[in-house]
Every structure is written in structure tokens, then in C-alpha cells.
Amino acid sequence: MSYILILIGCVFVNNVVLSQFMGICPFLGVSKQMKSSVGMGAAVIFVMICATAITYPVYRLLEKFGIEYLKTVAFILVIAMFVQLVEIVMKKMMPPLYKALGVYLPLITTNCAVLGVTIGNIDNGYNFAQSLTNALGTGLAFTLALLLFSGVRSRIENCDFPETFKGVPATLIAASIVSLSFMGFSGII
């Protein structure tokens, strides 16, 4: 039961992009087309789950030596290395998958949502299975936000805004309205 709660909490109540403000850069950058947002979302889900699976044991190792405070350094290094590794392996072994996700992979290294999830798992005291659920939920939440927003964005693209609001300001205000709609979910847990 607690796993379902974590999942629903991640996707709807505490949506990673719209209410926790992580991963805003890719959210605004890649949400122009439906297709690229699906690709980015899939890549983020994949990297988040794998990064959680790796950093959890790493943290236990740090704990054993009493150097938990090095977790930021250790996590970001592990994630950066892992993303590079996946990219190389994927390019060689699975060209179709690389074609679909490849371009988005390097961009994820510095996506703060990935580091945020791994650190959040530790801060919330989740166990291994809960951490993986949290990572999956956050990845799904990111994809959902990206998909919804790419739909909104394709509609506002051709609208007639005042000159000063064209471009990024209009996008941000649209994001504010999408975020407002997600406030309706608060309190369902």
C-alpha cells in the first residue's frame, strides 16, 4: 500500500516539475514537441531508476566509513559516470534504442531532478524498494508534466501575445496555469 501512496504522491501531489521545481531547464527546453518530450521522459525514467539503484548501495558504503557528508560529491560522480557508460554501451549494442534516447542522455547528467531524487531518497529514509518506487514515480511525473505542457505549448505557439511577453515569459505563465491545475490534487493523500 505504501508503494502506491509513494507513486501517487510523486506523480500528482508533489509533481517534481510543477511543485518541487526540479528539472525546469529540460521542462522548458524540450517541451516544444510531443515526440521529443516522450523521448526525454523515457530517458529520465531510465536514468533515475538506474541512478537510484546505484547510489543506494553507495550511500550505505559511505555510511559504513562514516563519511555520509560526501554524498553530494559521490552521487554526482556516479551519475555522470553511469550516464556516459550507458551512452557508450547503448551506441554499440542497441543502436535503435540509442537513436531514440541517445541525444537526451548527456543532457540528463546535469538535470537536477536526478540528483534531487537520489538525495531525497536518503533524506526521506526510504528503503531500497521504496527508493526505486520513488524514482519511478518521479520519472513518470516528469514525463507527465512534459507531455501535458507540450500540448499546451503547441496551442499557445501561434497566439497573439503582447510583444514583451512573447517567448519565454508566455511559456512561464502557461506553466504557472498548468501548475495551478495540479494544486487541485493536493490533499488526496
Binding site: L18, S19, Q20, F21, M22, G23, I24, C25, L28, G29, Y69, L70, T72, V73, I76, L77, A80, M81, V103, P106, L107, T109, T110, N111, C112, L115, G116, I119, G120, D123, E163, T164, F165, K166, G167, V168, P169, A170, T171, L172, I173, A175, S176, I177, S179, L180, M183
Partner: protein, 228 residues
């Protein structure tokens, strides 16, 4: 325009002309997340400034030692080290700020401003300009965070830095301290800056001076401008 290479120019360009948040649109995540109060904005801004100055200094010193192929991991390690340092300092001396910034303090590590300046400036310039560049950019970031925090705090709670604002405090518009208000205020501020600067608004989130610029070749429009 002032001499392009004078130290004074390196310092002032980050404050207004290339303000990281409002003009080049970098580091949006902390900008939106921690600015529910003006005080938090200043705290976050100064913490980022500290990391930016220190990492620019170290990276500029090491620029001939670090091999080009592995420069990004090297930069990240330097930055993460300083982030850990500031986490300790803040936990020890200002614990209430540490609590209210939460996970975003650790996330300074992946703030695009810091990696971006390391990549675009510190790894190509001498020590003094690098420090000044970091200081200017950091203070510019602090300034925009402070503006955002002030707007949201005044409208959302009816007080500012502990001062109660007479009329608004009776009926504060709570939506402004909620996530939706963050997006809204940032959108309006960027539009305001566009209006004042009378320039064409940025159509895209620029990936200039973004750490990923090396990987997404050709997609960055004004990468040159940031480097030279």
C-alpha cells in the same frame, strides 16, 4: 561600452547586462523554488556566489592541468566539494536557513550557472578576471533572487523582511507563495526586463554557456558571445 577586457567590465557584466537569471535564463530551478521569501533568496544567492567564486578560482588555477576530455567531471568534483563546504558552514552557523533551503543547497552542484561559468569563462581566463566574473554573476543572481523573493513575499504574505505591509497583510494573495505564483512572477519579471531593455525577448531557453553545450552542438545560438 566599456573596454571588453577590463576587470571592471568582467565584474559588472553579470550584474545587469548578462544577469544569469533574467537575461540568459540559467539556474531556473533554485530561482523558482527558494524565493518564497526575500531572505531565502538572499541566502541562496550568497551561497551560490561563494561556490561560484571559489570554483572559478580553482578551475582557473587548474586550467592547464585538467585534460580537455575529462574536464566536465573535474569541474563537477571541484564544485561539489565547495557545495559540501557551504553545507557544513550553513548547518553550523545559520541552521534555520539551512532547513528552509533544504535539498536545493545540495543541488547548487548541478546549477547551470556554475558549470556554465566554469566551462565558458574560468577555464579560459586568468585568475583575477575569473574571480571577478564569478563575483559579478553571483551577485547578479542574488539580486534577481532578492527581487523575486520580495515580490512573492509582499504579495503572498503581506510582509517583507519582517516588516508588515499594512493593506496587503489583511488579505494576502497566498497563490503567490505557491508554485504557480513562482512561474507567474518569473514570467512577469522577465517580461519587465525585456520591456526596460527594449530588446526582443529571448525566444528560447538559451543553452549558451550551458555545460551541455559541448554535447548539443549547433543548437546553441549565442555560445560565442558568452566566451569572448
Amino acid at each position: 561600452m566599456a573596454d571588453k577586457h577590463s576587470n571592471w567590465y568582467e565584474f559588472t557584466k553579470g550584474l545587469i547586462k548578462q544577469n544569469p537569471t533574467l537575461v540568459t535564463l540559467l539556474g531556473m530551478c533554485p530561482t523558482l523554488a527558494v524565493t518564497t521569501m526575500a531572505k531565502n533568496g538572499i541566502g541562496m544567492g550568497l551561497a551560490t556566489t561563494f561556490v561560484l567564486v571559489c570554483s572559478n578560482l580553482v578551475i582557473s588555477l587548474l586550467k592547464n592541468v585538467i585534460p580537455k576530455a575529462v574536464r566536465l567531471p573535474c569541474f563537477i568534483v571541484v564544485i561539489a566539494g565547495f557545495v559540501t563546504l557551504i553545507e557544513f558552514l550553513m548547518k553550523g552557523y545559520i541552521p534555520e536557513l539551512y532547513d528552509s533551503l533544504g535539498v536545493f543547497l545540495s543541488l547548487i552542484t548541478v546549477n547551470c550557472i556554475i558549470l556554465g561559468r566554469a566551462e565558458a569563462f574560468a577555464s579560459k581566463n586568468k585568475i583575477l578576471p575569473s574571480i571577478l566574473d564569478g563575483l559579478g554573476m553571483g551577485l547578479g543572481f542574488t539580486l534577481s533572487l532578492f527581487c523575486m523573493g520580495s515580490v512573492r513575499e509582499i504579495l503572498g504574505t503581506g510582509s517583507w523582511m519582517g516588516i508588515t505591509i499594512p493593506v496587503i497583510s489583511e488579505n494576502p494573495m497566498t497563490v503567490f507563495i505557491m508554485p504557480a505564483g513562482g512561474f507567474f512572477v518569473l514570467g512577469c519579471l522577465i517580461a519587465l526586463v525585456n520591456k526596460i531593455a527594449k530588446k526582443k525577448p529571448p525566444q528560447e531557453i538559451s543553452c549558451s554557456s550551458c555545460p551541455n553545450a559541448a554535447m548539443c552542438k549547433g543548437q546553441c545560438r549565442d555560445e560565442k558571445e558568452a566566451c569572448e
